[in-house]
């Protein structure tokens, strides 16, 4: 159970001359439910995109499933829900089913033929996020929160071993958010490693097993309990982490 899934060694990253990340070292283990927190512009999305190989440089400092990122190609083990996932236009011509289909078929060889079993898998993924009844609707005709659920189904349908989510609950109502975190917790208990970027630290603490606080540097990385102790020491200097650990 102690397999290392993501490993980053002393990584810096610059956009032109602006430093976005500095001296990041991080290990994510199988079964972790990691929350990455930090203010706007602290480098959370950048870190995630680096891990996912979306920036060409710095690949050599990152390993996924024990393989250097430059050589890694088992992308079907990875599920990704990007920030502002709703950046496609609302009139994009795709049905809910077609969107989830994308997540399933991308691992196959071209031409990608959809089988009966694939349809069942798609239906199951939609059932998991409670969206099966909308499968023939256009994705643009759903509410923001419903769209987000569909995108999660798309990320889950290929049964990834690790799921990366970048602020997935932006624009989602409180009740749906709680259900959503329960869903993630449930997936995590089935063995899926989860990396969640969130500003909603107050609500997520009871679900996650680890917290990483980013501010260009990795200010803190450890368990929830350790975080509370660390936060108490530092909270006088910060406002954004106030009141996070009321019970401790």
């Amino acid at each position: 159970m102690d397999q290392t899934i993501v490993e980053i060694k002393k990584m810096n990253y610059k956009f032109g001359s602006t430093l976005a990340l500095s001296d990041i070292s991080l290990e994510i283990k199988k079964g972790d439910f990691l929350a990455i927190i930090g203010q706007n512009g602290s480098g959370k999305t950048t870190l995630l995109k680096l891990i996912l190989g979306l920036y060409e440089s710095e690949k050599s400092q990152i390993s996924l499933f024990g393989e250097n990122l430059t050589e890694f190609n088992s992308w079907n083990k990875i599920g990704y829900v990007p920030q502002k996932a709703i950046h496609f236009e609302n009139n994009f011509p795709a049905t809910v089913e077609e969107v989830v289909e994308m997540g399933l078929l991308s691992g196959k060889k071209n031409p990608k033929i959809i089988t009966k079993e694939d349809r069942v898998k798609i239906a199951n993924a939609l059932k998991e996020v409670d969206m099966l009844k909308y499968k023939n609707r256009r994705i643009g005709n759903l509410s923001g929160g419903q769209q987000q659920r569909v995108l999660i189904a798309k990320a889950l349908v290929s049964h990834p071993e690790i799921l990366f989510l970048d602020e997935p609950t932006t624009g989602v109502d409180t009740e749906t958010q709680c259900k959503f975190y329960e869903l993630l917790k449930n997936l995590n208990s089935k063995g899926i490693t989860i990396v969640l970027i969130s500003h909603d630290i107050g609500r997520i603490t009871k679900y996650v097993t680890k917290i990483a606080s980013l501010n260009q540097r990795l200010e803190f990385y450890g368990s929830h309990e350790e975080f509370c102790a660390w936060d108490k020491k530092h909270s006088h200097a910060k406002s954004h982490t106030h009141n996070l650990c009321p019970n401790l």
């Binding site: 995109k49 992308w75 990704y80 011509p93 795709a94 289909e101 997540g103 991308s106």
Partner: protein, 270 residues
């Protein structure tokens, strides 16, 4: 009147070429519009004009000249867009207008705008030669086949390029493939609707299909059907009334677009 028109060999050739090129243009159009590259067809037709003029000047088949020019031009556009950090439209504008300038320059050396050049600009499907039928059809079939085989990857990167990359799809290779396909498509439809209207042949059927607010696969299928319908009706009407086929085909496309526009407004008033 349909069957009468189709007795003639030239009409059969025209219909065959029109249908395959029309379908390939309309399928590609859906991807180009959704990826906000709708104007690349316009740019590439300008570039092709340079190739046609060069072909005529040097005594090469204008078709081949257009193909070489447009593929090179398309690759330069793609490169400028990705590496030069130019906005998509700016790179199209720069490359296409340079090539257009070159084309006009070459055409003037080659003896001005003769009937030959005009037929490439405005199409001359009823006078299409057999080898052009074969070339156009093969090129268009290559495009259709590519879209069918890579349908899912193309769909995915149209929906979200970054997620497509993360799922292991080689987005940058497909981007190159897309611009080459666009170049091929424009050249293959050059004889049908002419370079002036090639871009309309790409954009209009796809825009009409997009108005119908369907899923992705259905949108593609309807785009192809709308194009096939316009080509068939356009050819028959232009034969019977002695109208210009290219203009007739595009005008029918315009009418279809207007109809779908109002249908979609009536169905979902906002």
């Amino acid at each position: 009147m349909i069957f009468e028109a189709l007795q003639y060999g030239f009409m059969q050739k025209a219909l065959l070429t029109g249908l395959v090129t029309g379908i390939s243009c309309s399928l590609l159009g859906v991807f180009l519009i959704l990826r906000k590259h709708a104007l690349i067809g316009d740019g590439i037709s300008h570039i092709s004009f340079g190739g046609v003029a060069a072909g005529i000047l040097f005594g090469i088949m204008p078709f081949v000249g257009a193909l070489v020019f447009s593929i090179i031009g398309a690759l330069v556009i793609n490169n400028l867009r990705e590496k030069g950090k130019l906005h998509g439209d700016a790179s199209i504008g720069i490359v296409s207008h340079s090539a257009l300038g070159l084309g006009i320059f070459i055409a003037s050396i080659a003896g001005g705008f003769n009937v030959d050049i005009l037929s490439y600009l405005f199409g001359s499907i009823l006078a299409i030669a057999s080898e052009e039928v074969i070339l156009s059809s093969i090129l268009a079939l290559v495009v259709i086949l590519f879209i069918v085989v890579f349908y899912h990857d193309l769909f995915y990167m149209t929906f979200d390029e970054e997620s497509a990359k993360v799922s292991g799809i080689s987005v940058s290779k497909l981007n190159i493939a897309m611009v080459i396909l666009t170049a091929i498509t424009v050249v293959s439809s050059m004889r049908v609707v002419g370079l002036m209207l090639a871009s309309a042949f790409i954009i209009l059927p796809a825009s009409s299909a997009l108005q119908l607010k369907m899923g992705f696969k259905k949108t593609l299928i309807y785009s192809g059907l709308i194009s096939a319908f316009s080509v068939t009706l356009g050819l028959i009407l232009s034969y019977n009334y002695n109208w210009a086929p290219s203009g007739t085909i595009i005008l029918i496309n315009t009418l279809v677009f207007i109809s779908t526009y109002f249908i979609s407004r009536i169905n979902s008033p906002e």
